[in-house]
């Protein structure tokens, strides 16, 4: 699912997981709002993409969208960057320069990494949000600005408030419409869609057919934890698109570091509810939905996890038992029950 259709497809957030659907739904609801949005999400989860999306579907879409990372500037520079300065305000200020707020007039400003804004600057931001006017550095008159504010943060602002690193009054000013972007590891069901999305983008750009992706690559991608989130996945897809020579994306196109980390992760356990019933299942279930045997599925699950633990511990049953958090004797019983042969 890719929502909403009106926006430029290329910059969109992709995801069919319940978590992302909830995010899209919320974005749709706040579409016409003018209120401040607080986007919380780890690095690479798509904060700026989300901010763009909010701007694109707002009434301000034909006005400027200005994105600033507050982490880029030193404490003294950030004020002149955001609010601008008058000629002669400081050495080197040879002419008047409007700040980002003025550049965004009529549109939206996205202040990313708001958690990196120093306390002294937070007071000034609070005043801007309250009065909707800015004062240029070295200026004497307040300049009214009509700007919708969206802020992004990697860290939990509420926690920073509790730690005394973020002003409580500013937090409440910002936290009007909160959007939380889940990390990719919490929505592995979206990984396939994201791969398709990025790969087709790279191949279409080159005017080539999108190659098939091997099951092995899909499995590795699903198991990997993606600490860099969607951005890391996007880069991995770009790499695959650049290096694939055989018409199918295979494990050799994937960075080996991803393969090794994926191999160390426990298998992703998805229960294929729509899959064709296994022979052991009841052939004619009531209501047309194929019945599954819970015992059978649990045994499969158990056997998958035990095999994984044995592989990780090179067949050492004591280590495997420790990995699974069971006693060595319990593991022995279960291995016998599942009929797993220890790896050679």
């Amino acid at each position: 699912m890719t929502v909403p259709e009106s926006s430029t497809m290329d910059t969109l957030v992709v995801g069919r997981s319940a978590r992302m659907r909830a995010v899209f739904e919320f974005l749709r609801v706040i579409g016409n709002s003018e209120s401040t949005v607080l986007i919380t999400g780890e690095s690479g989860t798509g904060k700026e993409v989300t901010a763009t999306l909010i701007h694109e579907q707002s009434r301000r879409r034909h006005r400027p969208f200005v994105a600033v990372s507050c982490a880029l500037f030193s404490e003294t520079l950030i004020e002149s960057e955001l609010f601008g300065h008058e000629r002669g305000a400081f050495t080197g200020a040879i002419k008047d320069r409007p700040g980002r707020f003025e550049m965004a007039d009529g549109g939206t400003i996205f202040l990313d990494d708001i958690d990196d804004v120093p306390l002294a600057m937070q007071v000034k931001l609070l005043r801007v949000l309250q009065n909707r006017t800015i004062e240029r550095l070295g200026g004497v008159r307040p300049v009214p600005v009509n700007v919708r504010v969206i802020v992004g943060t990697k860290r939990d602002l509420k926690q920073l408030v509790a730690d005394g690193a973020f002003r409580e009054d500013l937090y409440y000013r910002l936290n009007v419409l909160p959007v939380t972007l889940p990390p990719l590891r919490e929505r592995p069901e979206d990984i396939n869609d994201l791969m398709d999305h990025f790969l087709s983008r790279y191949f279409r750009r080159r005017g080539e057919a999108v190659p098939a992706i091997s099951e092995s690559v899909k499995e590795a991608f699903k198991r990997y934890s993606w600490p860099g989130n969607v951005r890391e996945l996007e880069n991995a897809c770009e790499r695959m698109a650049q290096t694939c020579t055989c018409g199918t994306i295979r494990v050799g196109c994937v960075a080996a570091s991803i393969l090794f980390k994926a191999a160390a992760a426990a298998p992703v356990l998805t229960v294929p509810l729509s899959a064709t019933p296994l022979p052991a299942m009841t052939p004619e279930p009531p209501g047309g939905v194929p019945a599954i045997s819970l015992d059978e599925r649990l045994r499969e699950l158990e056997s998958t996890l035990i095999s994984w633990a044995l592989k990780m511990s090179n067949g050492n049953k004591s280590k495997a038992a420790a990995l699974l958090g069971v006693k060595r004797s319990t593991l022995g019983d279960r291995i016998n029950r599942c009929g797993i042969a220890a790896p050679a």
Binding site: S214, T245, A256, S257, A262, A263
Partner: protein, 78 residues
């Protein structure tokens, strides 16, 4: 001296992915602190995939065994 078992254990971690893709990595020899492997399957014939796997596996071997020196793959330019 690295042991054959240690090298095989590292290879075995990624082998399931290679096998699932119709390929494999076979440990031919361990001599001193180096090893020789043979890659098979579609990825063995693709220059960039071959390099990716070669370099990636060599890096993993060195991480596991700091003394590990060189991973050789005969019959391929690398």
């Amino acid at each position: 001296m690295v042991s054959r078992l240690q090298v095989q254990a590292v290879l075995d971690r990624v082998r399931p992915f290679l096998l699932a893709d119709g390929g494999d990595i076979e440990l031919l020899a361990v001599d001193g602190n180096s090893a020789t492997v043979r890659l098979t399957g579609a990825c063995a014939n693709c220059p960039s995939a071959h390099m990716t796997l070669h370099v990636g596996i060599e890096t993993a071997l060195r991480e596991e065994m700091p003394d590990f020196e060189i991973l050789r793959t005969p019959g391929a330019t690398s």
